[in-house]
């Protein structure tokens, strides 16, 4: 090597130089010995000069780094148990954190897989889906009429795409087969929808503006996933004609594989149809025809340089003008003051990551899990710092020797940090694998009832970058303290005292780390216990309705082409056929089943004015068939339920629940009272004929809401067209219920056959036990509780290992002290107590610090907890108990070893 040649030459030069000097000194009259000594002294430190010259020719830092890494690897391979322990500990910490980060990334940070997401902006904000003409304040959903106005009023946008706020189910029947219609999650979109997102078809073509005309041939685009799963990726699907909601549509293409629609949700869109086909599928009741029917979300491609504030102001002006002139809101919803009108605004918000239904639903949980993971990682770091400290102290003699031989303190510091970084990177590598598995596990736990999860958690570049950064950071974190301490070693003292020195400075950081770990574990276990307590409360609560042996059939009747009378006939037929199936005790149909939740309407009582707009006079509203209460197991407390005799031509009847009576009738005898919806003119529409028990509905963690159940066969004849449409829509039912016994496997084909016999266009979306629907609602909370429990246990195990390591080390160091104690009369119990006392001092301090922290966390979690008080004694007791248990086990082994110290051997050893 070139550098080596330089060094050889240098050696020669140095010899020559000293020779010259010696000659001169001899000439001055020195003895040969004096001459040589003087020459050497004048020349200086030969090896330092060699080294300095060497650095001129070599990239020393790189070589030293490589040397350090090689050295670190050699050291680590010499201590395989230590290395594997650290790698596993770190791998778990880093893996868990990275797994959660990859979910955070997939759900919260990732943009839509579209061209130029940074220029996409939502017009409006929030995730509300649909509204029959209420004032929204900050507007989120828009009617077709308002969409057209906004599109015209926003030249700053290249494109403004409109799409259905909450994708619904379309009944799709492959017209070449005689099979039952397939329910696909369908979305009505404007002609420029795909163009706005800059998407290209995977096959065929996508919807264009020309398709979105009233007289155009109806077309549809399938999602890649749906094409794969429902149609076996068959190329013949493209160009085929399918009956959608009974109307023929041509399938023109397949959307690109990564595109799950503009909304990240666990139920991604499967088929897109042009907005204008809604006139076809919904006939004269089309949403598009009703100016007040807000059902569209808007997203647009903002031109570079446009001011968001300016566009927001312009659109707000358009909205307010539209509200006065064209809105045609239902009478009860019209703005009642100028001030109320000015509060109606449109905001432009970033839209690059789509509509964040899922983001909103999961971000709190993900943040919580992320925080818990980081806590586990911190504990892991503290643990490894402790392990390294123990190693560092054991190696103190060696370091002292290095220092004495002239190694700089910086060099030793760097060596120690290199070793920790190498360890951390090894842990990071283990972490990548674990994170991938972990993310899959989390998804499996969180979406255990979903058929399709639109989250891609394969390790991506940002995730890998995060993992690498995290590994280096943790290396720095757990390496700093030991590195600093090891370089602070005083060589003289260390060499003299060997390993018997009882250095206070080295023991203190170890103890502090144990305190820190104990405190964090208490918090983690307390949080996990509180969340578990909460989910247990949720699962074991009294819902009000029965779940055992109850089946929910979610269905979709096609909307157009059926008059209400035709629908009534089919409903009656369907209920009769379902009730006759073997094993079925009762069958019913309802607008919404007991779990799903549903409509709200504003109650108007006779003699009262317009209902308030703020929802404070709303009740949950359901349309049910006879037998509904018996089928879902809701007890009738007074009067009667809905009967077969409640027909279109008899007086309007309604059954209410106790919460309704309490809220609207302030405890008066309810039977025989009247009320109605919307306007004072209809306040006599229903007569209360029965009262049922309270039951939860929709969000099962909320108290039972007031509910009213109308007869499916009855109608209110409204004179206002908007309200008439409303009445029609609440007869398109979503669910059939069965009370059955026997095997679901044999029942299901019979159910499907019954549907087919009634009408092949009635699509079955899903057949599920009611219990499963309930479980699904708590999936997320259960997943969070289970995962935090997992992290809590992990934290405890790590903390215990740490405590064990430190206690074992203490025992080893104090062997001679213990020997002396025994020599002067201490018995085994005394010795064990001594060790226990040492270990428990730290754990106790950890508890004292951790408990207030846990209470603080409980406070932060309060809104996520169901019937768990902020100061949850059970959770705290569990946390304290498990920590003490862990600590006992961890210090038991070293204490026993200490107690069985052989007196003679110990004293002889030194």
């Amino acid at each position: 090597m070139d550098g080596d040649r330089h060094l050889n030459e240098l050696d020669q030069e140095i010899r020559d130089h000293i020779d010259f000097e010696v000659q001169e000194n001899l000439a001055r009259g020195m003895t040969p010995e004096q001459a040589r000594t003087a020459a050497s002294r004048k020349f200086g430190n030969v090896s330092a000069i060699r080294e300095e010259t060497y650095t001129v020719w070599h990239r020393v830092w790189l070589q030293q780094a490589l040397q350090d890494i090689r050295y670190a690897l050699r050291q680590l391979s010499l201590a395989p148990v230590f290395t594997v322990t650290v790698m596993l500990t770190l791998g778990l910490g880093i893996g868990a954190t990275t797994a959660i980060f990859s979910l955070v990334h997939a759900v919260m940070l990732r943009s839509l897989p579209v061209v130029d997401p940074s220029h996409l902006y939502r017009i409006g904000s929030g995730n509300d889906c649909c509204s029959t003409g209420a004032l929204q304040g900050n507007w989120q959903v828009f009617s077709y009429s308002l969409y057209k106005q906004i599109e015209a009023a926003a030249p700053q946008f290249d494109n403004v795409a409109a799409f259905q706020g909450n994708a619904g189910v379309l009944s799709v029947r492959d017209s070449t087969s005689i099979s039952q219609a397939r329910p696909l999650l369908g979305e009505y979109v404007s002609g420029n929808y795909f163009q706005t997102f800059g998407l290209q078809a995977f096959a065929g073509r996508l919807i264009t503006k020309a398709d979105d005309q009233q007289n155009a041939t109806p077309v549809a685009v399938l999602s890649y996933r749906s094409w794969q799963q429902n149609y076996n990726s068959s190329p013949s699907v493209i160009g085929a004609t399918f009956n959608i909601e009974t109307h023929p549509f041509t399938i023109i293409g397949i959307a690109p594989p990564g595109f799950f629609g503009e909304t990240l949700s666990s139920t991604p869109t499967e088929i897109w149809v042009p907005l204008q086909t809604e006139f076809l599928t919904d006939g004269k009741d089309a949403f598009n025809l009703i100016p007040s029917q807000a059902w569209l979300h808007l997203i647009g491609h903002l031109r570079p340089g446009a001011s968001i504030g300016g566009v927001s102001d312009a659109l707000t002006a358009t909205l307010q003008h539209w509200l006065i002139t064209d809105a045609d809101l239902p009478p009860q919803n019209r703005p009642r003051s100028a001030e109320q009108l000015t509060r109606q605004t449109i905001q432009i918000t970033p839209g690059g990551s789509g509509i964040g239904t899922m983001r909103d639903a999961y971000q709190d949980s993900l943040r919580l899990l992320f925080a818990l993971c980081l806590a586990v990682l911190l504990i892991a770091c503290a643990n490894i710092a402790n392990l390294l400290l123990v190693r560092g102290i054991a190696r103190r003699g060696q370091i002292a020797l290095q220092l004495a031989l002239g190694a700089s303190r910086l060099r030793i510091l760097r060596q120690a940090l290199t070793e920790s970084s190498v360890l951390a990177l090894l842990g990071g590598i283990a972490g990548i694998g674990l994170s991938w598995l972990g993310a899959k596990l989390v998804i499996a736990v969180a979406f255990r009832h979903s058929t399709s999860v639109p989250i891609d958690v394969r390790p991506s570049l940002p995730v890998l970058g995060f993992c690498l950064g995290l590994s280096l950071l943790t290396g720095l974190l757990f390496g700093t303290v030991p590195a600093w301490l090891s370089s602070a070693t005083d060589p003289i003292q260390s060499l003299r005292g060997a390993n018997r020195a009882t250095h206070k400075s080295a023991a203190l950081p170890q103890k502090l780390l144990i305190v820190f770990q104990s405190a964090l574990s208490v918090v983690l276990i307390a949080v996990a216990s509180m969340l578990t307590h909460s989910i247990l409360n949720l699962q074991n609560q009294d819902l009000g309705f029965a779940t055992a042996n109850r089946l929910s059939i979610q269905m979709e009747p096609p909307l157009a082409d059926y008059t209400l009378d035709q629908l009534s006939l089919r409903y009656r037929d369907l209920r009769a056929r379902l009730a006759q199936l073997p094993g079925v005790h009762n069958a019913s149909l309802a607008l919404d089943g007991p779990v799903i939740g549903g409509w709200q309407e504003a109650v108007v009582k006779p003699g009262e004015g317009m209902p308030r707009l703020d929802g404070s006079e709303n009740t949950m509203w359901n349309r049910v068939s006879p037998g509904y209460f018996e089928t879902i197991g809701l007890p009738i407390l007074q009067g009667r339920g809905i009967l077969d005799s409640d027909r279109a031509d008899t007086r309007g009847v309604v059954v209410v629940n106790q919460a309704f009576v309490k809220k609207f009738l302030s405890g008066q005898p309810p039977i025989g009272k009247y009320f109605g919806f919307h306007l004072p003119a209809y306040s006599n529409a229903f007569e209360i004929v029965g009262v049922v028990a309270d039951a939860k509905s929709g969000d099962l963690s909320k108290p039972p809401p007031p509910m009213a159940f109308g007869a499916l066969a009855q109608h209110i004849i409204y004179t206002e067209e908007i309200l008439q449409a409303d009445d029609k829509w609440d007869h398109f039912i979503n669910e059939a219920q069965l009370y059955y016994s026997g095997d679901l496997g044999t029942l299901e084909p019979r159910i499907r056959e019954a549907f087919r016999l009634v009408d092949p266009n009635f699509a079955i979306i899903d057949i599920q036990p009611v219990q499963q629907l309930v479980d699904t609602q708590f999936d997320q909370q259960r997943a969070v509780a289970q995962l935090s429990g997992l992290f809590g246990i992990l934290a405890l195990v790590l903390a215990s290992i740490g405590l064990y390591g430190v206690t074992a080390y203490t025992v080893a160091r104090r062997t001679s002290e213990i020997g002396i104690r025994m020599a002067v009369g201490a018995n085994r119990t005394n010795i064990a107590a001594l060790i226990f006392r040492g270990a428990f001092t730290q754990v106790t301090i950890g508890l004292i610090l951790g408990i207030p922290l846990a209470i603080l966390f409980g406070k932060l979690l309060a809104n996520r907890l169901y019937q768990v008080s902020i100061l949850d004694p059970t959770a705290l007791l569990i946390a304290i108990g498990t920590l003490i248990l862990g600590a006992t086990v961890a210090s038991m082994i070293p204490a026993r070893r200490a107690a069985s110290t052989n007196l003679i051997q110990t004293l002889r050893a030194d």
Partner: protein
């Protein structure tokens, strides 16, 4: 000969300048350079003779001097160092810098009356 207390340790980089200046007249081997610096500073500057060598290697790497083999006065093969064209230019630059520095320091220490 001056006493040890009168000696001044060299500033960082100053040695480079002195080496360049010493080589202006003719190529010299290492020991001769060290001697010349000591002699010309009348023994005020304290040079650990060996520290000359890393400086020489540094200058070679920068291309300011070059090394060639030659025969020394006592008939031994020795490495002779010679200023390159680039080194000559650098000497002018460095000398200018040094003068500015000494002037500036002098001005601070003894402000003009």
């Amino acid at each position: 000969m001056s006493t040890k207390a009168d000696r001044i340790e060299l500033l960082q980089g100053t040695l480079d300048l002195l080496v360049l200046r010493t080589l202006v007249l003719c190529p010299l081997h290492g020991h001769a350079i060290a001697k010349a610096i000591e002699r010309n500073s009348e023994d005020v500057l304290l040079v650990e003779q060996g520290s000359l060598y890393p400086a020489l290697h540094r200058l070679i790497k920068r291309g300011w001097i070059s090394a060639q083999d030659g025969i020394s006065e006592n008939n031994r093969r020795a490495k002779y160092y010679k200023l390159t064209a680039k080194g000559k230019k650098q000497l002018i630059v460095e000398t200018g810098k040094w003068e500015k520095l000494t002037q500036a320091i002098a001005q601070i220490l003894r402000p003009a009356e």
